[in-house]
């Protein structure tokens, strides 16, 4: 194994193959990003499959394997397929997805027929043409690789130069047309770029998996960034890495096709991205969700206890704490969650146990609960009178923090609270200054 690895690094042909697949992966990631965002992932798949008959016909005409003939054949039949797809959409009631599926399978089926026919010929030239199904990078020779690399570099340069225009075309084609960009030309160009990368990838990756080569790095990259330029770079890097990785593995294992290995590498990166990426990744999303759930539950429990305390305060009544079932009845929450929250609140010294399943707020807890309640009730009043305060844009902010409003507005809102009789009555200030109201609260068993 280590010997084969050494021979790979020193063998000139293999070095070229590695450079070729690296550039191919880079170009696929770059162009695939645009295909993905333009929702044309399926078109790439159709073109790859449709390339097969073109390759076979090129072989039948030329009589031998030749990279340049293959490229021309694949490109022509790929473009023919796109033409059919568009015509079918335009001239019939068939929708795009059906049209793509239809053309894709017809072309691919025809390609397989031709391939079988070629394999049954006895001229010996045909060995290795099967490789176009799953891809075999090792069967590439120096001149092929140089051609592939040259085309890949060309595609990369075009994409980089026209990045700004392609971006606008992908995001908002109508606006692009409005400011005078030649959108049909650019659409055609993007389509040509996709055809180009598909065609040069066929020998290494194969017709079946080539579309995954376009899409997988792009969709993995999307998880890591919110900027198109970064996404394109990351996708290119993932594509390049997968290309090199797949090629290395397949050259060290005899008879192992390259395409599936490249795609497996890319897919692993995709899976890692899907789970672990910050912001968009599933794992952090789940963690954030559960944190949010807990925070909401915590505030609800505190507010519920506050509501109860306030009610008692109003009625000059006192009970030794409030029952858990009573809390669940007021704001439905699972018993398990309630227990968890109460215990963590107890640890924070915000609530204390006064009996079996009986709880009340501590002094510290009352202050905390007061602020939560005040904020929520201010929000009620604010929403009732939103038109007057629209210019503060409170709703626009994710946090919706009312306490950041100017002092004057806050006072106004508090006035309104009073009018509606919704001001939180048990005030923490009273606790500190030791006013009567608090003593009453304390004498009710709150302390």
């Amino acid at each position: 194994m280590s010997e084969t690895l050494v021979s790979i690094w020193t063998d000139a042909n293999t070095q070229w193959v590695l450079i070729g697949t690296l550039l191919l992966g880079l170009a696929s990631g770059l162009i695939g990003s645009f295909a993905l965002l333009k929702k044309q992932s399926l078109i790439g798949d159709a073109m790859a499959h449709a390339a097969l008959p073109g390759i076979c016909i090129a072989f039948l005409i030329h009589g031998a394997k030749s990279m340049s003939w293959f490229i021309i054949g694949a490109a022509l039949s790929g473009l023919l397929a796109t033409f059919f797809i568009e015509k079918i959409i335009k001239l019939s009631r068939i929708k795009e997805d059906t049209s793509i599926g239809l053309v894709l399978s017809v072309f691919f089926g025809f390609g397989i027929v031709l391939l079988t026919y070629i394999n049954h010929q006895n001229n010996g030239n045909q060995s290795g043409i099967d490789d176009f199904i799953f891809g075999q990078a090792a069967s590439l020779v120096g001149t092929d690789v140089k051609l592939i690399s040259a085309v890949a570099v060309l595609l990369i340069i075009i994409t980089v130069i026209l990045f700004k225009e392609l971006k606008l075309l992908t995001f908002d084609p109508q606006f692009a047309q409005g400011i005078g960009l030649p959108t049909s030309f650019l659409n055609g160009l993007l389509m040509t770029l996709i055809v180009g990368v598909v065609v040069i990838g066929l020998q290494a990756v194969g017709v079946i998996l080539m579309s995954a080569m376009l899409i997988t790095p792009a969709i993995a990259a999307r998880y890591w960034t919110e900027r198109l330029d970064h996404m394109v770079i990351i996708a290119g890097a993932i594509g390049a890495f997968s290309g090199v990785f797949g090629t290395l593995l397949s050259t060290t294992t005899k008879g192992m096709p390259t395409g599936p290995l490249i795609i497996v590498a890319a897919t692993i990166i995709f899976l890692i991205s899907m789970v672990f990426a910050p912001k968009r990744g599933l794992l952090l999303k789940a963690i954030r969700q559960s944190r949010l759930r807990k925070q909401v539950a915590r505030e609800q429990v505190l507010q519920t206890l506050y509501d109860f305390t306030e009610q008692e305060y109003k009625q000059y009544k006192a009970r030794n704490g409030f029952h858990e079932q009573q809390m669940i009845k007021k704001r439905p929450i699972s018993n398990h969650m309630l227990q968890k929250i109460l215990h963590s609140l107890e640890k924070e010294e915000l609530v204390r146990r006064t009996g079996d399943a009986l709880w009340c707020l501590t002094e510290k807890g009352l202050i905390e609960a007061y602020h939560i309640t005040l904020r929520n009730r201010l929000m009620e009043v604010y929403l009732m009178n939103e038109m007057n305060y629209a210019h503060f844009n409170i709703r626009q902010d994710q946090s919706m923090d009312l306490l950041q409003l100017p002092e004057k507005v806050l006072t106004e809102l508090q006035q309104l609270l009073k009018q509606y009789g919704r001001e939180p009555l048990v005030l923490p200030e009273n606790i500190n200054s030791g006013k009567r109201s608090y003593h009453r609260y304390a004498s009710l068993g709150g302390k």
């Binding site: 971006k167 606008l168 995001f171 606006f175 409005g178 400011i179 005078g180 198109l228 629209a390 709703r395």
Partner: protein
């Protein structure tokens, strides 16, 4: 010279006419509401003027010259729903797209362009959101980003497609003050609108449209019960409600 002149424009989708022989011209420095029922061809009219849908016949002139020669004078605010807001980009980047027509091919936006784009964001009260990913903006904020992008086009004639649809109160206020600012600068703004109650408040002029042009002129003279009846046809219950509203005003 009239900022926008439309002559005999007809648009048809699959032989079904959407706009029939619409002709009008608008004066400079006015806010013009394009009003009509659903399916009246309001958005299509704007798109036909901007060459976004093919015209079966007719011509469009911007300050006397064909639109194609005057693109830089025209700003456009498409409907918010026309793009995918999950696109990986931020608010500033979208506004910068308004500069692309001025920047030209291959070149990247300069520092000046970025500053200009930021000032446009500021005008719609969105400067703090410049680096916010666009999917994290509310509907109203997205609409304001689109407005800022149109401002970045630095145009003299603006076309806006339903900017008031589905926006919050803050955005509505921002749009109105922006429209008035543009008007004060002598710019002409055509707005597709379908809330009849606010027409008198927002617009100096109205164009009533229902496949054909029904009427165009200053709101006071044109936004009348009679013209509305012609525009909205037999939708009488609806019209009676509107009638009550107009009388109130």
């Amino acid at each position: 010279m009239n900022p926008v002149t439309v002559e005999n424009v007809t648009v048809a989708y699959h032989r079904k006419p959407v706009l029939q022989e619409v002709s009008f011209s608008v004066p400079e420095g006015k806010l013009i509401g394009i009003i009509g029922p659903n399916g009246a061809g309001k958005s299509t009219l704007i798109k036909a003027i901007l060459g976004l849908v093919p015209r079966a016949s007719g011509d469009v002139y911007i300050y006397g010259k064909p639109y194609k020669q005057q693109r830089k004078l025209v700003g456009y605010v498409p409907q918010r729903g026309s793009v995918d807001w999950d696109f990986p980009t931020n608010a500033l980047d979208v506004v910068l797209m308004g500069r692309y027509g001025h920047i030209g091919w291959f070149k990247r936006p300069s520092k000046k362009d970025v500053e200009f784009a930021l000032s446009c964001l500021e005008k719609v009260g969105m400067k703090e959101y410049a680096n916010r990913q666009i999917s994290q903006l509310s509907g109203g904020q997205q609409q304001r980003v689109f407005l800022a992008r149109a401002l970045a086009q630095d145009a003299t004639v603006y076309f806006m497609d339903e900017p008031f649809v589905g926006v919050d109160a803050a955005t509505e206020k921002a749009i109105i003050s922006l429209l008035n600012e543009l008007k004060a600068q002598g710019k002409t703004v055509l707005v597709v609108h379908h809330d009849l109650q606010t027409v008198k408040e927002y617009f100096d002029w109205v164009l009533l449209l229902n496949m054909r042009k029904i009427a165009i002129g200053p709101t006071e003279e044109t936004f009348t019960m009679e013209n509305l009846q012609k525009t909205y046809g037999g939708r009488l219950t609806f019209l009676n409600q509107q009638h009550a509203i107009i009388n109130q005003q």
